[in-house]
């Protein structure tokens, strides 16, 4: 987009970049904020239906679809309270810390091939790392509120999030290993084609580890059944007991932002990213460079694909929340340390051995040999001046869309 601004409108380079950054930030912000509105409404409806009620019905017509907006206006108008013993500065800053962490992770999240804030070489790692920072806002909120409930909630959150980062990291490593890169864009590109090339279906181990990932992801964003930090039956409302008004809503935007983020990450790592289950675009020959508009269309469809998958993930989290009972703190810890971590480790080893001994997969033609990827490491700029032995046909710098086509053929 920056190139477009520079070339067509003639803006100076710095202004073009600034404008582009602004637009990207605006879009991401809207995805989080708008997404939160929709998701909150959806959650209320789903919760109601699961519990055999109606949920919001009045505001904005039949389905109460304006309920969230009305709530938002109410929150804006609400008096902003601060407890007497609170540490003012920390109390005020905590929601923003949470929100910023959740927001920053979106920087590296690709929505489609080049719909990404900043394509990072270590994208997966960055997203997971930044997501882990959200816990700081919660801890600070818990401490600064000068309330026992808040502090308990914060301590639980700290314990839980730090522990669950271990199996979560292990789960994330498996697709990274299969793709041979930590770049989210490349990982998604490698799963192009029919849905059989999604990493979910790569081998039995990745199939299992996907569910471990789902468990850990739910735990790491503090959703039920792992929402110990805000267990309302024990802790009033946990870390945000003392918050109200806009600050409170920031916590919620952060929570829904993170939910969307981990779901999108699941989609990118295991469910083919922006590639649909059936490679329609390739079948129609759209991605072979038939013009910019077509290209753009493919990207847009891809973006829609990813959003759909991520939303589906969020909806599943809601389903889980209203179906399963909350765990005790020791059960939460046991789930992480005694089950998730060993299973993730075993699956990681299994996936590695599978890569080693069955690189082509069980059914020939469906999988991709690992050697191709590994040879690519040694070529290209910065690599060794290597003689390509195993994969002479593939040049590392080809445009990804061509690569996709190759795979399909």
């Amino acid at each position: 987009m920056a190139d477009f601004l520079i070339e067509s409108i003639g803006l100076p380079e710095w202004l073009a970049w600034t404008v582009m950054a602004g637009v990207a930030a605006f879009l991401i912000l809207n995805v989080i904020a708008g997404g939160a509105l929709v998701f909150i409404w959806a959650e209320r409806k789903i919760a109601a239906r699961i519990q055999d009620r109606l949920g919001p019905t009045r505001t904005g017509g039949r389905f109460g679809w304006l309920q969230s907006l009305a709530d938002g206006i109410k929150l804006l108008a609400k008096e902003d309270l601060m407890p007497e013993g609170a540490d003012g500065m920390l109390f005020r800053i905590a929601p923003y810390v949470s929100f910023c962490a959740s927001f920053c992770a979106f920087i590296a999240l690709p929505f489609a091939f080049d719909f990404v804030g900043q394509r990072l070489n270590v994208g997966v790692f960055f997203v997971v790392a930044v997501l882990g920072l959200e816990v700081f806002g919660v801890i600070l909120a818990g401490y600064a509120s000068a309330s026992k409930w808040s502090l308990f909630g914060a301590m639980r959150e700290a314990a839980q999030v730090v522990s669950y980062e271990v199996p979560l990291g292990m789960c994330v490593v498996v697709p990274v290993m299969l793709a041979g890169t930590m770049d989210l864009v490349t990982i998604a590109e490698k799963q192009a084609g029919w849905f059989t090339s999604w990493y979910l279906f790569h081998d039995p181990f990745t199939f299992v580890i996907f569910w471990v990932y789902v468990t850990c992801a739910v735990a790491s964003v503090n959703r039920a059944p792992f929402d110990l930090a805000e267990a309302e039956s024990e802790l009033v409302a946990g870390f945000h007991t003392e918050y109200s008004g806009l600050r409170w809503s920031f916590f919620f935007m952060a929570e829904y932002g993170s939910m969307f983020l981990v779901s999108a990450l699941a989609a990118l790592l295991f469910l083919g990213g922006w590639n649909g289950p059936i490679p329609v675009a390739q079948l129609l020959g759209l991605s072979e460079g038939t013009g910019d508009t077509a290209h753009y269309l493919v990207r847009l469809i891809g973006c829609g694909n990813l959003l759909l998958k991520a939303t589906l993930g969020v909806l599943i989290m809601m389903w889980v929340r209203w179906t399963l009972p909350r765990l005790r703190i020791d059960q939460v810890m046991a789930t992480c340390l005694k089950y998730c971590t060993p299973i993730a480790a075993a699956m990681f080893a299994g996936a590695m051995l599978w890569q080693l001994f069955l690189p082509g997969g069980l059914i020939p033609g469906l999988g991709r040999p690992a050697g191709e990827i590994r040879e690519g490491w040694l070529e290209g700029p910065g690599g060794m001046t290597a003689a390509p032995a195993a994969a002479p046909n593939e040049k590392p710098n080809e445009t990804p869309s061509k690569k996709v086509a190759q795979v399909v053929r």
């Binding site: 050697g371 590994r374 040879e375 490491w377 040694l378 060794m384 290597a386 003689a387 390509p388 032995a389 195993a390």
Partner: protein
């Protein structure tokens, strides 16, 4: 070169060359994992962790012995081999120090088993920490790369912090641990900053390459700025090493930690940690001691040695607690060892044979020091179990109830002073002899002369406070309220003390075997 060749080369280098010479460390690592399994698996839960640790260390000791024996005798420098693509180096010094550490560990595990400080429940944790720390010390002795240097120091230190807090319920122990951890981590941080400056100027982290670059950068007509950065980095590195050596002015943790921690932990820190630190000092001093920087290094080590030795001995005077006294004695001995290192580095350029002899002296000193200091701490620990006190005054009149232990104490302390015919005498004699050799060969003559004089004076000073302990034990009347518990030599603890004390006498008389091993280590300087 494609990916396959790359991996094949790597495998060849690692499996065929590096791992066989890394067996002692591997044995330690395997033992640590086994100790952990002992806690987890129900089948292994009833195994005595001390026995498991002893078994593993036994293997490590055997491998270390084989490695030392396997060194080529004729051309000693040919035994030098860089392992793991230059990260660590295997040479005679590595082999010797490793053997020393493993031998120490065997004795140490027996000692802790007898004195009963890690009980069965905590045994696995305790031995994991001890073995983990020793693994770090082995790497300290063989570090050939700045990363390995820093990592080895951390690996040796961090478990020791936990060891210092071994007696969880005791106020002094937790205080000792927190002081050790804070000072230790601070020193490591400063050292790391120094390493970053050195690496930044020289553009490499591999010690031999650094030496090559150093002689280019610091040669004639070097920019003063570069020299300043180099010396700043060197001094900051020295802070970290001095902390590990407990050299003045970075010694202040030593008495507190030794007093607060259990005597068993004190023994570990005082012997093993010191041996590894001296080996690392030798490595760094020889590694970076090219012609341009040698004088700087010699003066830094030499002056620090003089101050350390004097201050350690002087401060030992006023002590009423036996562990504190031994702590200051440890500091003083670090001073003597550093004198040997200074002499070795000073002669490295002008008189290689002398340099080898000096390294031999340091290595021999370390070898006898294992028995002397482990013996001293064992006596403290075992007497604590009978007398329930570690104060010197509590030892009053001990000769009447248990003469055997007093004789043992006398042997150990006299050896620590360095009087004939005990092992300590030979070691000290060798160190002073190498100082004399340095003077005659004209390497840094004024400094060496100073060191010789200070070393002599210090030996005399140390006479008094060691003998005061013996005086209290023999001449002073026993305190009235003391339980009349004797310490018989015919018992398990008695046997242990005997086993530690006999070598102190034996090495004083038949020292050629140990000396031959130490000479192998000395070949490192060639």
């Amino acid at each position: 070169m494609n990916f396959g060749t790359l991996i094949t080369n790597l495998l060849n280098d690692t499996v065929a060359v590096s791992l066989p010479l890394f067996r002692p460390e591997l044995a330690l690592a395997a033992t640590i994992v086994l100790l952990l399994l002992c806690r987890i698996l129900p089948v292994l839960r009833h195994l005595d962790s001390a026995l498991v640790a002893l078994g593993g260390v036994g293997f490590a000791l055997w491998y270390a012995w084989c490695d030392l024996r396997g060194l080529p005798v004729g051309d000693l420098a040919a035994g030098r081999q860089e392992l793991f693509t230059g990260l660590i180096v295997f040479d005679s010094l590595t082999a010797y120090v490793r053997l020393l550490l493993m031998g120490f560990l065997v004795l140490y595990i027996l000692f802790t088993r007898v004195s009963g400080i890690p009980d069965r429940e905590d045994g696995a944790d305790f031995y994991s920490l001890v073995l983990g720390s020793t693994l770090g010390m082995c790497l300290m002795a063989s570090a050939n790369h700045l990363l390995m240097l820093f990592m080895a120091v951390e690996m040796a230190s961090v478990p020791s912090y936990a060891l210092a807090g071994l007696l969880k319920g005791r106020r002094a122990s937790s205080e000792a641990a927190i002081k050790y951890a804070v000072y230790g981590a601070g020193a490591a941080g400063i050292m790391l900053y120094g390493l970053s400056l050195l690496a930044g100027v020289l553009g490499t982290c591999h010690l031999p390459s650094m030496a090559v670059e150093l002689s280019k950068v610091a040669g004639v007509g070097a920019a003063s700025g570069t020299v300043m950065v180099l010396s700043l980095g060197g001094l900051m590195l020295a802070v970290g090493l001095a902390f590990k050596l407990s050299a003045v002015p970075f010694h202040f943790w030593c008495p507190d930690v030794f007093e607060g921690a259990a005597a068993e932990v004190g023994a570990f820190l005082s012997v093993a940690s010191k041996a590894a630190a001296v080996a690392l000092l030798l490595r760094v001093a020889f590694g970076l001691g090219v012609d341009e920087s040698r004088q700087f290094i010699v003066y830094a080590i030499g002056l620090m040695a003089a101050v350390t030795c004097t201050l350690g001995n002087l401060a030992a005077y006023g002590q009423t607690n036996m562990k504190r006294l031994l702590a200051y004695s440890t500091i003083a001995h670090a001073g003597y060892l550093m004198m040997g290192v200074a002499a070795a580095v000073a002669m490295a350029g002008v008189f290689p044979a002398g340099s080898r002899a000096a390294v031999t002296a340091v290595a021999f000193y370390l070898g006898t020091y294992v028995f002397m200091n482990l013996g001293a701490f064992a006596i403290v620990a075992l007497l604590r179990n009978t007398l329930r006190s570690e104060e010197i005054s509590a030892y009053a009149g001990l000769v009447r109830t248990s003469p055997g232990i007093v004789v043992a104490t006398a042997v150990v302390l006299v050896s620590l002073i360095g009087l004939p015919p005990l092992a300590g005498f030979i070691s000290k004699f060798l160190i002073f002899a190498s100082l004399v050799e340095a003077i005659t060969s004209g390497a840094e003559r004024p400094l060496m002369l100073l060191l010789l004089v200070i070393g002599g004076i210090n030996t005399v000073i140390s006479l008094f406070y060691y003998l005061r302990v013996l005086k209290v034990m023999t001449f002073d009347p026993p305190p009235a309220e003391r339980a009349h518990e004797a310490f018989p030599l015919v018992s398990l603890p008695g046997a242990l003390v005997t086993a530690l004390v006999v070598p102190v006498v034996a090495f004083g008389i038949f020292w050629s075997g140990l000396y031959a091993c130490a000479q192998l280590a000395g070949a490192f300087a060639s």
